[in-house]
Amino acid sequence: MQSTGRSHEADAALAARIRSGDREALGELYDRYAAVSLGVALRVVRDRDAAEDVVHDAFVAVWQKITRFDAEQGQLRSWLLTIVRNRAIDRVRGARVAEDIDVLDELGALRSTANPTWEAAVANLSLARLRDALGSLPGEQREAVELAYFGGHTYREVAALTGVPAGTAAGRLRLALAKLRQLLTGTDAGPASAPPSVEPTAGAGPP
């Protein structure tokens, strides 16, 4: 895999060319990320033709809305994959569930900003390592993450699907991502992320 810096610079250059109306630059972006995009889309929609439609539409969106992307603040790859994932969820769920790039609010900005720690992990770790990390999560946490991220379910829906209180589902998502971060980067998720040694339960207070 490319180093984070090289990848970021190359993507920033591609973004600049796309912004200038260079269609071949979009083609190069496609060549670089079509396979990973299709992997994400297929994981969500589980239908090859539908997944290719999602990827097509996502790259068209990148072409149309490239002026909304700020290379200084985020990775083009992450931006693209956010679009792919959200449109794939739209496809299977039929309604706006995840925020799209058209929504520019606090959360949209937060999710779109660069996070060097995660991006370095993605750039430097193999697919197998990433999958191992996800697979090492406790089963109920991994299930919650997969339902939320790849299934497009809200944490309340995750709670209903898994038969736990909403607070427990929210806690599982929180603990899962904190542990994933720890596994991939070797760092804790922050001052509030006490070691999740105890599974949150209903009525147990904040997880």
Partner: protein
């Protein structure tokens, strides 16, 4: 909602937002919850470090999927589509670099001859029409910037005006933003699809005081649009009510929420064209 429900404490406090950090990161909130979190983050002065460290997990989750080679025709189909697809217009220049009229002089207490009238009446006085015309109405286009996040979460940058422009630009999404200024600072009222938002850099409110936002109609009747406090950082505050039907936006310093302004505005400006 039961006692273990993070959304059972409305408006959301910092603890509830932290409890939702995973769901926030994954976009796994209900729409009303997303709005509530947005409202909290727009004005919260706490860093929410855990949330910020979890953000970015989506990239790792996406990268954990097995790449799949697309069919041979997909690239050609894409290139054919974009050949006939226009791109969105590039963002306008940052608001501070637009051809903006010189800022009006700070508006202090009304002259004694006008003391019989509330200050906001004078905004509609033909003799002071230049006050309103002195504000530029600028359109700022949307780009997502880190500055928006840093500042709303108590970040700090040296160039406050440039940063304010960037925050307003980030939040506007291409919508029209109305520039409001005064002795107490400056800002933008942005007409967003989810409702109007004030993004402003104003001086810290004295202890025991709040800032109250006002919308005034063409007759000069003020309606409270909410309150906020700040320690001097740039804030983004959703307005209560809509801009439609109103001509002026203003912010006054008050000891508590009131039904009509009791002081002259620290910032004000027209919100119509």
């Amino acid at each position: 909602m039961n006692e273990h429900d993070p959304m059972s404490r409305l408006p959301l406090d910092c603890t509830a937002v932290d409890e939702l950090a995973g769901a926030i990161t994954l976009g796994a909130l209900e729409p009303d919850e997303s709005r509530a979190v947005n409202e909290h983050l727009a004005t919260c002065t706490q860093p929410h470090e855990e949330l910020r460290t979890l953000l970015g997990a989506n990239a790792a989750l996406a990268a954990s999927t097995e790449p799949v080679t697309p069919s041979a025709g997909l690239r050609d189909r894409l290139m054919a589509t974009i050949a006939s697809t226009p791109q969105e217009v590039a963002p306008a220049a940052p608001a501070h670099s637009t051809a903006e009229a010189p800022p009006p002089p700070p508006r202090q207490a009304a002259p004694s001859a006008q003391l019989s009238l509330p200050w906001w009446r004078s905004l509609f006085d033909p003799r002071s029409a230049g006050f309103a015309r002195g504000f530029a109405v600028v359109a700022v286009a949307g780009v997502i910037v880190l500055a928006a996040v840093n500042l709303s979460l108590r970040g700090s940058l040296d160039d406050r005006q440039a940063t304010l422009d960037r925050v307003a630009s980030a939040l506007s999404g291409g919508s029209v933003a109305y520039h409001v200024k005064g002795a107490g600072g400056s800002g933008f009222v942005i007409q967003r699809t989810s409702g109007p938002v004030l993004v402003a850099a104003v001086r810290p409110a004295p202890a025991g005081h709040i800032y109250e936002m006002w919308l005034l109609d063409a007759a000069g009747k003020p309606v409270s649009a909410g309150t906020f406090t700040t320690n001097g950082e740039i804030v983004a505050v959703p307005l209560e009510g809509q801009l439609a039907g109103h001509a002026i936006f203003a912010v006054t310093l008050e000891a508590h929420r009131v039904n009509a302004p009791t002081t002259t505005p620290i910032i004000a400006g027209p919100i119509g064209t």
